[in-house]
């Protein structure tokens, strides 16, 4: 396949979903089925194109780039002429991601045809799904930071629109706003990072920036600024991938329809942060990577501790998503590049599956509750479920496979990727002593197995909470179960590696070879070869450990929730504040509300007060003073100046009054005056 056709195909893959969006927005109402088939068809074609692109790309080692000039400016000081390019980069990373995104998107489109049936904004929903797919593909195939940022914000928009799908509900619109604004905080950091790189290198292109850094040209000739740029760009990932401390938006995002949670808030968009870190990997310094690793580890642990105590089926999955994203970020931070990205791929399948499975459960619960005319019971609370296994066999068995995968049980895809992450993390710590990282990673692995089996057992096993309801529960329709079966198949090991116990020989792992770091060696990460050496020496140990830990987590959940040999309530009581903290998500929302939200609100009121009282006070005060002065000057005018004028007038008048008396009208008198006057003049001149 030629390079040009690869670019052409990727452009079609990118723009088809957008075309679907435009058609649905303007003509959706006039199309049969509100045009869901247009959106689904567009994504299906995108998927096929993506597959072709991936296979063609993986067959050759060279990546393909195409660029178009977007804006040209002449004569920029320091930089000279400036051309800002848009461009596409097809390499292993982007071609694999293309397939992941379009595949999950396609399955979610199909699934939504069942799940969203009868929704009042059915067509609009599909339009937004298409817009999301477009924006996400844009992130994936761009060759520069500017486009990355642009599409980054656009996925934020589609996420906002879809979380707010049920916007009549205040909680939904609140969640949508929270998602957007929290992400914007991360994006502001990312934007500053991009500015640092752009202002120095005068380009947004990844290749050009990497090339310049490789040649020893650092932003502002400073290693600190290079690290800062890396960490600031990572801020974008902290927002989008819901990493600590910006993780608070993702659990709330579950207000959106469940298929949206599967597509956007589990499989693809939230993974964009991981993708970003992978893209920027070559210029991340050791310091920046260490920050990334610790943030990832903290997130993984924090989220896992919360997931353990939640009762809302979607919330458990949301927290587990945050935790797994933490894993991926941790992996990239320690330099286990392929492992981290591979986890992104395997996680996309099984987590999308988990969400779609939970959607099937919620769908069935809703239908049953509806039949019972019960509008009180929460259809998402696992305490209201139980025993669904028999009634929903397809959902149950697929859900079980996804759960095994996320828990890292052998023969699943999750085992392969998680095992590599654990190995990479442990190897990293043996090289530089950051033992907290592998410790956290192993702990989280055990907790993951525990809370995921807790979820499965409470939902599908045990006694039903309501026998009547159980009797009317029905399995979800075919459009919903088929995607589940597809995803369950994709959660098995053989798609990724023929060796069920090792990913490194598989095609995916090998396709994701870690790119060479371009930062100066002194501040660069541990070399790939050194790390792999360490990985291979700890690999067997890690494999045994990870299996033991996962199985014990699973077994513990079995004892507590299936056998009930250990009382969950007693455990909670014994934990006391720890339990309450976990149940209340460690009070992050409350903290942020009190400090950041209320702080900002207070600031807005202060500004407003300042504007109305101080600035306008001065303006109005000046006006009042001017008025006052004008009154005084008016008074002065009246009393003195007018007084003087009036005085003069009166004085003149008075003299006139006196003088008029001599105007007698008698000729004799005038003659006397004239003679008298004449004599006075004569005397006057004579005197001289």
């Amino acid at each position: 396949m030629g390079m040009d056709s690869l670019i052409l195909f990727s452009l079609f893959a990118l723009f088809l979903p957008l075309a679907g969006f435009v058609v649905l927005i303007f003509f959706g109402n006039r199309l049969p089925r509100e045009g869901d088939w247009v959106a689904t068809g567009a994504v299906a074609v995108s998927f096929v194109l993506s597959l072709i692109i991936m296979f063609s790309k993986l067959a050759t080692p060279d990546s393909v780039t195409a660029t178009w000039a977007w804006v040209q400016m002449g004569n920029v000081p320091v930089l000279g002429g400036l051309t800002i390019e848009l461009g596409i980069l097809i390499d292993n990373l982007s071609s694999i991601m293309l397939v992941v995104v379009t595949l999950i998107s396609l399955l979610v489109h199909v699934y939504s045809m069942g799940y969203m049936q009868g929704d009042s904004r059915y067509g609009r929903y599909f339009a937004y799904l298409g817009f999301f797919t477009f924006s996400m593909l844009g992130i994936v195939i761009t060759h520069n930071l500017l486009m990355m940022y642009m599409f980054w914000e656009l996925v934020g928009l589609s996420s906002y629109l879809l979380i707010g799908h049920y916007y009549e509900k205040k909680s939904a619109s609140n969640a949508a706003i929270k998602a957007f604004v929290v992400n914007r905080i991360g994006d502001a950091g990312m934007f500053i990072g991009i500015m640092i790189l752009f202002v120095h290198f005068a380009t947004f292109s990844f290749d050009a920036i990497f090339g310049a850094v490789a040649a020893g040209d650092l932003p502002f000739a400073s290693q600190a600024w290079l690290t800062a740029a890396g960490v600031l760009i990572f801020c974008g990932a902290i927002g989008k991938s819901a990493q600590f401390p910006l993780h608070v938006w993702l659990p709330d995002a579950m207000e959106g329809p469940t298929p949206v949670s599967a597509l956007i808030h589990a499989a693809t968009m939230v993974a964009a942060g991981v993708f970003l870190v992978a893209r920027m990997f070559p210029i991340l310094t050791a310091d920046a990577l260490l920050v990334i690793a610790y943030i990832g580890a903290a997130t993984a642990l924090l989220a896992a501790t919360v997931a353990i105590t939640q009762y809302d089926i979607k919330k458990v999955l949301a927290w587990s998503t945050i935790s797994q994203l933490g894993y991926m970020i941790l992996a990239l931070g320690v330099g286990a590049y392929a492992a981290g990205f591979m986890h992104l791929v395997t996680h996309a399948a099984f987590k999308a599956g988990l969400f779609l499975g939970s959607g099937a459960v919620i769908y069935a619960m809703h239908a049953a509750l509806h039949k019972q005319h019960d509008h009180q019971t929460d259809a998402q609370d696992i305490r209201n479920m139980g025993g669904l296994r028999g009634k929903m066999p397809v959902t149950y068995w697929t859900f079980l496979i996804f759960t095994l995968a996320i828990s890292g049980i052998p023969l699943t895809s999750g085992f392969l990727s998680k095992d590599e992450i654990l190995a990479g993390t442990l190897a990293f710590s043996t090289l530089n002593g950051h033992f907290l990282l592998p410790l956290t990673a192993f702990l989280v692995a055990g907790m993951t197995a525990f809370y995921m089996f807790r979820l499965v057992i409470l939902t599908f096993h045990g006694k039903p909470s309501d026998k009547d309801r159980l009797s009317i529960i029905r399995e979800a329709p075919g459009v919903m179960t088929v995607p589940l079966i597809v995803l369950a198949t994709l959660s098995l090991f053989f798609f990724y590696s023929f060796n069920p116990l090792g990913a490194s020989s598989g095609w995916l792992y090998q396709a994701l070879e870690r790119p060479a770091s371009v930062v100066p060696e002194a501040i660069g990460p541990i070399a790939a070869s050194v790390l792999y050496q360490a990985v291979s020496s700890v690999h067997t140990l890690v494999m045994i450990l990870s299996i033991v830990i996962a199985v014990s987590g699973l077994a513990f959940a079995w004892l507590v929730y299936e056998k009930r040999s250990i009382s969950a309530d007693k455990m909670a009581a014994a934990m006391g504040p720890l339990y309450r903290g976990s149940y209340n998500k460690w009070y992050f929302d409350e903290m942020y509300q009190a400090v950041i939200v209320n702080g900002t609100l207070a600031l807005t009121h202060i500004s407003n007060w300042f504007d109305n009282r101080i600035i306008d006070g001065i303006v109005n005060g000046a006006a009042t003073v001017t008025q006052g002065i004008s009154k005084i000057s008016g008074w002065i005018d009246y009393m003195f100046i007018d007084g003087l004028v009036n005085f003069l007038a009166n004085f003149t008048g008075a003299i006139g009054m006196r003088l008029r008396k001599i105007q007698t009208g008698k000729v004799q008198n005038y003659l006397v005056f004239a003679v008298f006057g004449f004599l006075v003049i004569v005397f006057f001149f004579m005197a001289i």
Partner: protein
């Protein structure tokens, strides 16, 4: 380049067509409301056609700014000549118009917003004749400022705008219209006085030698940009003198009031809240740009030494306006006031980009002037649509409008997200270049300013939530969606906002040469 119609230059046509319209309006009887409206629509429509023609045939490579030969569509002849005045010598005031890359987009914007303002004025019933007469006079004033190249002419147009605006707010405004009108008048009048003083100081300092060897004092802006024309010993002679700094500050304040920059901004919220919708549209769409335009046309190239000296002052005021405007916007409950404050925030970005004194920043700033003009015009029209239907304007008065008025909501989303700086819409591009340029010159000021984008997102989304989302109250269940007339004013703006967001190159090409030259000239510190 010259372009004449019936022997009269195209710029004169563009500037004075509205005056012709005004005269016709004045001749029409009061009752002929539709004839009056159609007259206004026709002249502004013709003006727009001419402005589009000018933009199309505009030579994108010509520099302009201080080079009289590369200005386009120039019309120049002596207007007022007084021979041999004691002390001063010969006085010359020129009728001197022309455009370059800095003004061409502003001319287009003014013409566009004027037409949209007329469409939006269609349902004004109070004293229609007076309204449109003043409106058309206002349009002439605005357009004149953008094409004048003689300071005296510039100043006359500047002051011509003031009076119609005062009456348009004071007579057709809301409840506190008189307070708002007087406040507007006094603020801008103070600005005008400061400008007048600087103008006179420049006049007495600048003299050029004509072919006959006479030294002639002049108001020609281009002569004022040439150091050789400053009379030795005159008040503004030399570089980096105290008087030049004082003159810079005075002129800066007179322009900053129009922008408006913190702390000279408080006339704006009042004026906007009280003004009728079309006047808010004109005010935000065009009038505010006169301030930043004036800085680039007059202040920067005439006093480049002081401009460089005060760079950080400008950037800091830009930064404060961005953050402070956003914070104040967030505190508002009146939809219109909220948008007024958001204008302060967005014009702060213009200031920040300009202050950077580099091509990216200046291009970003001028593009932001244009984009803010279109986006904010849309936002005020959006408020106007709801106000026309309900006589309410509070953001808490609504809710659930999305279900009742889907077309309206779709248009509003485009405008709101453009104001929020969403990529793919025009606001993003200009903010991007403004920030990129600013970061090159001021690292920390820009970093602080960027936090403004978070605040902007917050207040815009809150407003969207309160007005459009949620459930619809019963009183609003009969609200009709947009009418044809309303769509006519929104759709062109929406198309521009989306087009320039996706492909800004055509707009940037128009200004690139002139702005690059301006930046070079200013950084050269007046040769």
């Amino acid at each position: 380049m010259e372009f004449q119609i019936f022997g009269i230059g195209i710029l004169t046509w563009i500037v004075f067509l509205p005056i012709v319209g005004m005269l016709i309006v004045l001749l029409l009887p009061n009752e002929q409301k539709n004839a009056i409206r159609w007259t206004a629509a026709t002249v502004t429509g013709l003006q727009l056609v001419l402005a589009v023609v000018v933009t199309m045939i505009f030579d994108r490579t010509a520099l302009g700014i201080n080079d009289s030969n590369s200005f386009q569509f120039v019309e120049q002849f002596r207007w007022i000549v007084v021979e041999a005045v004691p002390w001063v010598g010969k006085i010359e005031i020129m009728y001197f118009m022309g455009i370059d890359g800095l003004s061409v987009l502003m001319v287009l914007l003014t013409a566009l917003i004027s037409v949209i303002g007329v469409i939006s004025s269609w349902n004004i019933e109070k004293m229609v004749k007076g309204y449109f007469a003043l409106y058309l006079l206002l349009v002439t004033g605005m357009m004149g400022v953008f094409v004048a190249l003689d300071f005296f002419l510039f100043f006359i147009f500047w002051e011509v705008m003031l009076l119609p605006m005062y009456f348009l707010i004071g007579i057709w405004g809301g409840a506190r219209r008189e307070y708002a009108a007087i406040k507007f008048f006094i603020y801008t009048f103070v600005g005008g006085v400061l400008m007048l003083l600087v103008m006179l100081a420049l006049y007495f300092s600048v003299a050029y030698t004509n072919e006959a060897g006479e030294q002639i004092h002049t108001f020609n802006l281009l002569h004022m940009m040439n150091a050789a024309n400053y009379v030795e010993g005159s008040i503004l002679y030399g570089l980096d003198t105290t008087w030049r700094y004082v003159a810079w500050l005075a002129l800066f304040i007179s322009f900053a009031i129009k922008v408006p920059l913190f702390p000279f901004h408080t006339w704006l919220p009042d004026a906007h809240v009280e003004a009728p919708t079309p006047i808010s549209v004109i005010l935000a769409g065009v009038l505010l740009k006169l301030g930043t335009y004036g800085m680039l046309r007059v202040l920067f190239p005439i006093l480049p030494d002081a401009t460089i000296f005060f760079m950080y002052l400008m950037a800091s005021l830009g930064m404060i306006s961005i953050i402070y405007g956003a914070l104040c916007a967030m505190a508002q409950q009146d939809f219109k006031k909220l948008i007024a404050y958001s204008s302060i925030s967005h014009m702060g970005i213009v200031m920040l980009g300009m202050a950077a004194l580099n091509t990216q920043g200046t291009v970003g700033a001028v593009l932001q002037m244009f984009n803010h003009g279109t986006i904010t015009a849309m936002l005020f029209l959006i408020v106007g649509v709801l106000y026309d239907r309900t006589s309410k304007r509070g953001v808490y008065d609504f809710g659930g409008i999305a279900n009742q008025m889907p077309k309206y909501t779709g248009i509003a989303m485009v405008a709101m997200f453009a104001a929020l700086g969403l990529p793919g819409l025009s606001g993003f591009v200009s903010e991007l270049f403004s920030f990129l340029g600013a970061f090159d010159s001021f690292r920390w000021i820009t970093i602080i300013s960027v936090t403004g984008i978070v605040l902007t997102a917050a207040y815009i989304l809150w407003t969207v939530q309160r007005v459009f989302l949620g459930s619809l109250s019963d009183v609003h269940k009969t609200l009709p969606d947009l009418t044809g007339r309303e769509l006519l004013m929104f759709i062109p703006l929406a198309i521009i906002v989306i087009f320039l967001g996706v492909y800004p190159a055509p707009a940037i090409e128009l200004m690139n040469a002139s702005l690059s030259h301006l930046v070079d000239f200013v950084n050269g510190g007046m040769p």
